[in-house]
Symmetry: C3
Subunit: 302 residues, 3 copies
Amino acid sequence: NISTEETVFKPHEGVNQSPIPLEINRLNENEVQINMTAQITDIEIDKGVFYKAWTFNGEAPGPVIVVKEGDFIHFSLKNMDPAVPHSMDFHAVHAAPSEKFIDVMPNESGTFTYEASKPGVFMYHCGTEPVLQHIANGMHGVMIVTPKGGYETDKEIAREYVLIQNEWYDYNNLESMKNEEPTHVVFSTKALKTDELNTNGNAFSLKEMPLQAKVGEKVRLYLNNVGPNETSSLHVVGTIFDDVYIDGNPANHLEGMQTVLLPASGGAVVEFTVKEAGTYPIVTHQFNHAEKGAIAHLEVTN
Amino acid sequence: NISTEETVFKPHEGVNQSPIPLEINRLNENEVQINMTAQITDIEIDKGVFYKAWTFNGEAPGPVIVVKEGDFIHFSLKNMDPAVPHSMDFHAVHAAPSEKFIDVMPNESGTFTYEASKPGVFMYHCGTEPVLQHIANGMHGVMIVTPKGGYETDKEIAREYVLIQNEWYDYNNLESMKNEEPTHVVFSTKALKTDELNTNGNAFSLKEMPLQAKVGEKVRLYLNNVGPNETSSLHVVGTIFDDVYIDGNPANHLEGMQTVLLPASGGAVVEFTVKEAGTYPIVTHQFNHAEKGAIAHLEVTN
Amino acid sequence: NISTEETVFKPHEGVNQSPIPLEINRLNENEVQINMTAQITDIEIDKGVFYKAWTFNGEAPGPVIVVKEGDFIHFSLKNMDPAVPHSMDFHAVHAAPSEKFIDVMPNESGTFTYEASKPGVFMYHCGTEPVLQHIANGMHGVMIVTPKGGYETDKEIAREYVLIQNEWYDYNNLESMKNEEPTHVVFSTKALKTDELNTNGNAFSLKEMPLQAKVGEKVRLYLNNVGPNETSSLHVVGTIFDDVYIDGNPANHLEGMQTVLLPASGGAVVEFTVKEAGTYPIVTHQFNHAEKGAIAHLEVTN
Ligand SMILES: [Cu+2]
Ligand SMILES: [Cu+2]
Ligand SMILES: [Cu+2]
Ligand SMILES: [Cu+2]
Ligand SMILES: [Cu+2]
Ligand SMILES: [Cu+2]
Ligand code: NA
Ligand code: NA
Ligand code: NA
Ligand code: NA
Ligand code: NA
Ligand code: NA
Ligand SMILES: [Zn+2]
Ligand SMILES: [Zn+2]
Ligand SMILES: [Zn+2]
Ligand SMILES: [Zn+2]
Ligand SMILES: [Zn+2]
Ligand SMILES: [Zn+2]
Ligand SMILES: [Zn+2]
Ligand SMILES: [Zn+2]
Ligand SMILES: [Zn+2]
């Protein structure tokens, strides 16, 4: 496709912008300032396999954002891409998409405000056309909106992690994204606190550097399946989810589940207890996808 | 396939029967008479792309039917297809399929009675073998059975629409329906009252003629994903579902969801508030499918 | 692939081991002994089509196992496969996978203990790498853990059956399992009591030998979709699920559903009433899969 060749491939040739850290500053009790970038950054999606990703802040998925239920968000997006417009669609907010999820041109910035009205584990993503291409190329991530009243199981939780599933397709190939199987289906985790593990969506990091827990602990995962195309049948080998909150809303409480089915863009909070020391694989039980990378390890020690 | 050539393609050549309106008449407090047709009618599934659909009443999906929980239905199906038997499988009723969902021969009529026992948003479809072919060719639709006690959120609702997702495949190609990707995944809406918008399942109508709402309103959608093959990850950009009733049953109440996962033939009632003026896309967040047509627009004005 | 040729195909050539019955013995109020085999056994997946399956106890899916919530399980796996290691991953238990779901070498036995901590309809499967291959070749099944307090609808149930969905792919072809459509999607039932119907996952048995019920009865199905790759949109034609317990946990109660969406490895208890005599097809409403075999019949008589 000549148009893609001239408008995307050539301008991105040799471009590999260093990740710019997310900026998030609380202005007061109910307002936060969030500054992000759209940028072109190489992501190692499998050992030695690099994807020239379209990213938020040089990560794919982008950095996790944590706000509180009811926060007003002042958001700024700086588009560092030399060639392609990008934008931001936060599932966590109420906003008119045609006004506030609009394109920011190359080398420009856009600012927007909206409210994070409801608690949960929400996807964010670039909403520029064709949306499939922008998500599949890496422009996705998770915003956690913590509930005002908490979760009824908050006091039982010893640790918590973010876990995100995403797919990779043939590079920037819209036809492949529409009609073919993903080449990789992968997991990533994102640091909730400084110094915590923070990985891109790849087939190896969460096997080489397992998530950690201690025997007897109850562990919480903030899950989202950012797609762009597939559902996820999320399962932790060796345990059962004591508690599940669909889309992370405290009202949507299920119990004793072996597997949680996440829609494309769907979230959940899942909690489980690890009773013995050892390694617990986390998988999508759609095992063609696990085979393509979607296995993480949780290491449980005494 | 010679058999298909002689039994389907040739008899349908040049046939394009004008839509016959659905007839629904209330006989008394607990009984309704419903008369429908099976007919061959050209449907424009994309701009300039016509599909010689197998339809109920010349629409694909067929007309929406609204009855009350507990209604007895007297149903008549007139098969106007010159060549192929058809039938009616209502998910909303309790009935012996081998007695009451049976084939009606070409140019004949069949009459059946059954009860709409439970409230919800139910699929209906032709149940003639091979069922996959009859559904994929257009013989599907939605029956809403309104709950005796209503929904607990009824008083908050300012408007309501029907939204249906269906797939189209290579024309009448059973092998494609079984093993290939859909060529189009589309939405339609169906008029709940006279003069309301009523569209077929295509890639353009609900972009050219958006659904309408006013700022501050709470909008309800009656959803069903009639398939035949794919799940749907239903999402409205720019808002969050305040309330969700799985399969439309008032007992199955979830809250604060970004996305609802509909099984093939699954329904839901979803409700959301639009707080600002602008255009809100409605999508399946399985974005390969959105890319193939499954985007509708909701226009919100002051 | 030469490695597969030498390590799998040649050693399995001509091997067809007779099914060894499951051994399950209650030791006391809270302990059971379960002895199973891993064995190579031909399974007729469609009329005249045989698959040299990797099985538990010569069945695919393996035999149903019923224990009580809180039971300690003493488990022994005898690997009769002359060439390939196998293992057992019970979704129903809390256990360190790296210790208790480990490989048992050809012609050896392994013993393990763990607790069935929570009630539900749980998948079990071989967890040996590549897991996709071991599941797709037939090493899957269901363990029912009956809830201490029962289900709130227990007294209404007249009969109950196990129904399992699984997929078959090109024989032992990992590339096909990863990237192609299944050749067959099928149902099976498993005997809960001696002399009850017990079938393998094939396209014909549950059409030739329908499940049975009487007019007016409420029927319960213990469902699991063992995959390995696809979701299931489980629906019974001619009726509506009165009650659904997601993953079979009594706390996860939904009502009035037309279709239940099962993740890969997901379970459910569904209950429905049959009001008239006749044949009721049970399908996955992902009709490409129903077309490939996933239709069972329920025969309802006066
Ligand atoms: Cu973008
Ligand atoms: Cu498993
Ligand atoms: Cu038909
Ligand atoms: Cu149906
Ligand atoms: Cu979105
Ligand atoms: Cu095995
Ligand atoms: Na797929
Ligand atoms: Na497990
Ligand atoms: Na597909
Ligand atoms: Na949104
Ligand atoms: Na498929
Ligand atoms: Na039905
Ligand atoms: Zn790889
Ligand atoms: Zn547990
Ligand atoms: Zn609760
Ligand atoms: Zn098109
Ligand atoms: Zn059939
Ligand atoms: Zn809202
Ligand atoms: Zn409620
Ligand atoms: Zn076959
Ligand atoms: Zn109940």
